[in-house]
């Protein structure tokens, strides 16, 4: 890890990087991405991640595809599809594949920023036409990616979201496309080991508002921002 990594040193920077800098973040380079490693102003983030933490993974790779030909095309790339819409599946390479409807997929890389699935799919986007009835969606540009984790995450989400996301009602791998603090977003529950974890994909242009709203809702449960180092196994 290089402690002098700047949030602006990579091609893509998070919309939240000024907030991270204000919180005393140290950044780290993962693949082509620069993400928050940890915050110097916080205590033990590993413990925090078990209770309540919010991490920004917006610079990690992701991409989307939609159209009637998408499921067959994805299968031809070796992607294992979730059986039904609003279900997600983690692939062997760590890629999160979220099926947002019968014909729409969202792919997000593993926490190490690596994803063979996304690399293969992205390489094919440059081919025109992609495949019959398959259209690519620039999810890295259009959507931010936050992870809210820890045992108090459901209680926090209950303050800002109308869907019941408690673990016994919302199983690991389920997806809710809904309103979070009045911002439209996609919530995917994908636990890391024992840690309860919700990925939130939302419009990148309003992520600063969502970040502030979530931290505000988390304050009641002593939640804080955490870096990617705390999310590692």
């Amino acid at each position: 890890m290089n402690p002098s990594t700047l949030p602006t040193s990579a091609l893509r920077r998070s919309q939240l990087y000024r907030r991270h800098t204000k919180l005393g973040a140290d950044f780290v380079t993962l693949g082509d991405s620069v993400v928050v490693s940890h915050y110097n102003s916080m205590g033990d983030e590993k413990i925090q991640s078990q209770q309540l933490g919010l991490a920004d993974l917006s610079t990690l790779p992701r991409i989307g595809f939609k159209g009637a030909g998408t499921p067959d095309w994805a299968l031809s790339l070796g992607i294992e599809l979730p059986a039904a819409p609003n279900r997600a599946l983690v692939q062997a390479d760590g890629t999160l594949v979220a099926r947002l409807s019968q014909h729409e997929l969202l792919l997000a890389s593993g926490l190490d920023s690596r994803s063979q699935c996304i690399d293969h799919a992205t390489a094919r986007v440059t081919q025109a036409p992609l495949a019959k009835s398959v259209y690519s969606l620039p999810r890295s540009d259009s959507h931010s990616w936050l992870i809210l984790c820890g045992s108090q995450a459901p209680a926090t989400l209950a303050k800002v979201c109308g869907v019941d996301l408690r673990p016994h009602k919302f199983a690991n791998g389920e997806i809710a496309q809904t309103s979070i603090a009045k911002i439209n977003g996609v919530i995917v529950r994908h636990d890391q080991g024992e840690r309860l974890s919700y990925s939130i994909f939302s419009d990148s242009s309003s992520v600063e508002f969502l970040w502030d709203s979530l931290l505000d809702a988390m304050a009641e449960f002593n939640g804080t921002a955490i870096g990617i180092k705390a999310l590692g196994e």
Binding site: N86, G162, A176, Q177, T178, S179
Partner: protein, 110 residues
Amino acid sequence: MKLLTCPLNGQRNISEFTYGGEYHQMPDHQQASSREWAEHVFFHDNNAGIVTEWWCHSASSYWFLAQRNTISDQILRTFPADEIFNQRVDFAPAAEVSSDATPATKGESR
């Protein structure tokens, strides 16, 4: 809060949805007159009773149809649009264009 059941996402607060207007069957595009097209695109029946309407779940941009009683404001049924739109319609170019509809050529005064 009123609730509406999205065929894709299930029951949600009505604030997550956007109304998209009445559903009308599209006229035969090969035969329809301009009048029929204008009625299809711009005019609403505004019936009192059970109507079929377009609704969109904003968080997932998912368009679907709902049967609603406009007198009691009761939603009777929601269903995916492909229950009705199950065949592709290929719009062939118009066979002929009348002479008075020919656009002015470049540089010609109007």
